[in-house]
């Protein structure tokens, strides 16, 4: 019986394995293989030359300027900065929105408006936000002008010091809705008896949140962290349609750099090397998430 089950199992999962192999494993493998071959000529095997050249390229990694605090920092550092700022902001705002929404009576219009960012294509978001951050007519830029912060009353996308931040804040707006929905569904699973018991025992709001709600939200937080990090390290569409990585590479990120190397400069080996690095970076949170899940 055990043998029969194993044979049947293989038969049932074979189509999925084949699909995964031909549409994921094979292309990824080919991309990694390309990264070890030269850009021009007949694509000779060059080992790690593409990777070494990449780490020496200031458009990819510019430590000298990063230490000075002057853009351009390079695509790798910009992507890491993006993750460092974007993740806690979208996570925090999403949680805050969820905690507020769960207290309010059902307001589908409000929830929809917060979630709207996720359903608008990234390219459209990039085009629209150019106007939001413009000096003459932009809501964000003029808000800062109104409160007297003249250094931010500029066209954010036109200045090296603000271009990346404008894109990150745009992305936070997009992802807050996603985080809110995930947290909302987790919060609804908390048994009322737990919350009532906490109230009866005299727990404050913060204590209730920390000792009762947060443990229930752990797996949601893990999911959001993994999905967010993958997005932050691989994003492309918003940057492509708004700043195109400028000015002067100040808002260049890994996804855009990979596109430029492959499709604008026809340097497929270098583009594949960037893709491999992006995959390895994105694999880190996935590994920890899977490990944590398997331990449970």
């Amino acid at each position: 019986m055990k043998q029969k089950i194993q044979r049947n199992t293989i038969v049932f999962i074979l189509p999925t394995i084949l699909l995964l192999f031909f549409f994921m494993i094979l292309p990824v493998g080919e991309s990694i293989w390309s990264s070890f071959h030269s850009n021009g000529g007949k694509g000779e095997f060059v080992g790690f030359a593409n990777y070494i050249a990449l780490f020496k390229d200031p458009s990819f990694l510019n430590i000298k300027y990063f230490i000075r605090g002057e853009q351009p920092f390079g695509a790798l550092i910009n992507s890491l900065i993006w993750a460092l700022i974007h993740l806690p902001l979208s996570l925090g705002l999403g949680l805050l929105c969820a905690l507020v929404m769960i207290k309010l009576p059902k307001l589908p219009a409000l929830r929809t408006s917060i979630f709207l960012g996720m359903v608008i294509p990234g390219v459209i978001t990039g085009v629209v936000t150019q106007f939001l951050f413009e000096k003459s007519s932009g809501m964000v830029s003029n808000f800062f002008g109104l409160i007297g912060v003249t250094s931010l009353h500029v066209s954010w996308f036109a200045h090296a010091r603000t271009a990346l931040l404008a894109l990150i804040f745009t992305s936070v707006w997009v992802w807050t809705g996603y985080c809110m929905i995930i947290f909302l569904s987790a919060l609804t699973t908390i048994p009322n008896s737990y919350l009532e018991a906490a109230t009866l025992d005299g727990a404050s709001g913060i204590q209730t949140f920390w000792y009762i709600k947060l443990p229930f939200l752990r797996s949601s937080i893990r999911t959001i962290v993994v999905m967010s990090l993958i997005n932050e390290l691989t994003n492309f569409d918003i940057i492509y349609s708004s700043t195109y990585g400028g000015p002067g590479g100040a808002s260049n990120v890994l996804g855009l750099q990979m596109y430029l190397e492959s499709f604008r400069y026809s340097r497929f080996g270098t583009g594949a090397a960037i893709a491999t690095i992006m995959t390895l970076l994105a694999a880190v949170p996935i590994y920890f998430n899977v490990r944590s899940t398997l331990r449970k």
């Binding site: 003459s136 200045h159 195109y244 002067g248």
Partner: protein, 413 residues
């Protein structure tokens, strides 16, 4: 009921089989050529008569037109060419370097006998020759030139920029323009796309560095970060940006619109804008910077992928587009022909005005379109940095980055 359903199903199946068969039979009588070019809206209205005339003269050929920007088309072509396919039989591009690059890879069809190079502006087709074979033709183009709304100056009793003779006079005029109510800045700055800043740099190089310096940069005989080039930009462009003559970047269609609405004194744009600004007549105007003797002309280019299924028909269309097609297309306005046999009378009044301003001045090729590759992307990107932080240190950084990119591009890396 059951018999009715069965009968209807049989009829539907027969129709479903018969229709495609009949369409296929029709298709075999007519060759359909797929064309990709960037024109839409008003510009496409100007191009439609060209398609109609060709189809009229060639009843066995039908043209299917699709809009596509050069950067988007280049991305699609790189993947399709790699499997010996093509999305179109004839394609427009603004980049001669792209034609050279793809011809070297064997992706383009040589078109040697399709046109006579002597019928085009001097040297127009030279940059499209690879290993002695011609791989493309020029189409219509436009001039990179400062443009303005003459009514702004008339209404405020200011000197028309066409009557200004020195840089100091122009600066003084722009200072007065800046102080007018409702003005955003003296000079509009295009945001988003990077070519608007390159237009300014090209114009300034021609005005203050001269044709020789421009050509030396174009052909790699002088470095971008050489003392001579740096001096021209440091002494003549940086002060304009530092003094605040240039406004905050706005999306390019908006900045030209605002120039027309008299919110900018002028904008270094392209003569294709004459198509949009026709009312009131005579208000749209262009001028040359003091000391400028040569003008940048950018053109569209046509090429045929080697993987076309209809090479002879495509060559026929290409020859038509390069010759008679230009004569028709320029009637719609907004463009200048590279085909020398186009009668001056075919140009609308706005273009005739432009040609008079241009007069006997020399024409030079567009810098970033000609060198192309990584240099083009870097030049677009780095100049945005210069505008946002106009210091000598930034200028050094920008020029060095551009020189490195130019060297890389020329080396074919």
């Amino acid at each position: 009921m059951k018999k009715t359903v069965v009968a209807l199903t049989i009829v539907a199946l027969l129709v479903a089989i018969a229709l495609p068969l009949s369409a296929q039979a029709q298709k075999e009588d007519v060759v359909t050529l797929r064309m990709i070019a960037p024109w839409a809206d008003k510009e496409f209205e100007g191009f439609k008569p060209v398609i109609e005339k060709f189809e009229q003269e060639n009843p066995g050929i039908r043209i299917e037109y699709r809009t596509g920007k050069p950067e988007d088309v280049a991305t699609i072509l790189s993947t399709q060419f790699s499997v010996n396919k093509t999305p179109a039989d004839i394609i427009d591009t603004a980049w001669p370097w792209y034609i050279v690059q793809e011809a070297q890879k064997g992706n383009l069809l040589p078109i040697d006998n399709a046109v006579d190079p002597a019928d085009f502006r001097e040297g127009a087709l030279d940059q499209l020759v690879v290993d002695g074979k011609l791989y493309g033709v020029t189409g219509i183009g436009g001039l990179t030139i400062p443009e303005f709304n003459a009514e702004l100056y008339r209404e405020n009793n200011l000197t028309d920029p066409r009557d200004v003779h020195t840089t100091e006079e122009l600066k003084a005029l722009m200072r007065r323009v800046q102080r007018l109510p409702g003005m955003k800045a003296a000079i509009g700055t295009g945001g988003g796309v990077g070519w608007t800043n390159t237009s300014v740099v090209e114009t300034w190089l021609l005005a203050y560095g001269g044709r020789q310096m421009y050509m030396d940069l174009l052909e790699g005989r002088i470095a971008w970060n050489s003392a001579a080039v740096k001096a021209v930009l440091r002494d003549n462009l940086l002060p304009w940006i530092q003094e605040g003559f240039f406004g905050e970047p706005e999306e390019v269609s908006i900045v030209t619109e605002n120039m027309w609405k008299k919110q900018y004194g002028f904008f270094v744009g392209g003569t294709t804008d004459s198509l949009r600004f026709t009312d009131p007549p005579g208000a749209y105007a262009v001028f040359l910077m003091p000391g400028q003797k040569d003008i940048v002309m950018w053109t569209d280019y046509w090429f045929i992928p080697a993987y076309t299924e209809h090479p002879e028909e495509a060559k026929k269309l290409l020859a038509f587009l390069a010759t008679e097609g230009q004569s028709i297309q320029i009637k719609g306005g907004g463009r200048i022909a590279t085909y020398t046999n186009v009668p001056f009378e075919n140009y609308p009044p706005q273009e005739q005005m432009i040609m008079e301003v241009v007069g006997k001045n020399g024409i030079v090729a567009d810098m970033d379109d000609t060198i192309g590759g990584k240099f083009q992307t870097v030049m677009w990107d780095q100049l945005k940095l210069l505008w946002s932080n106009p210091t000598e240190a930034t200028l050094d950084l920008v020029l060095t980055a551009m020189e490195n990119a130019a060297n890389e591009t020329r080396a074919g890396n």
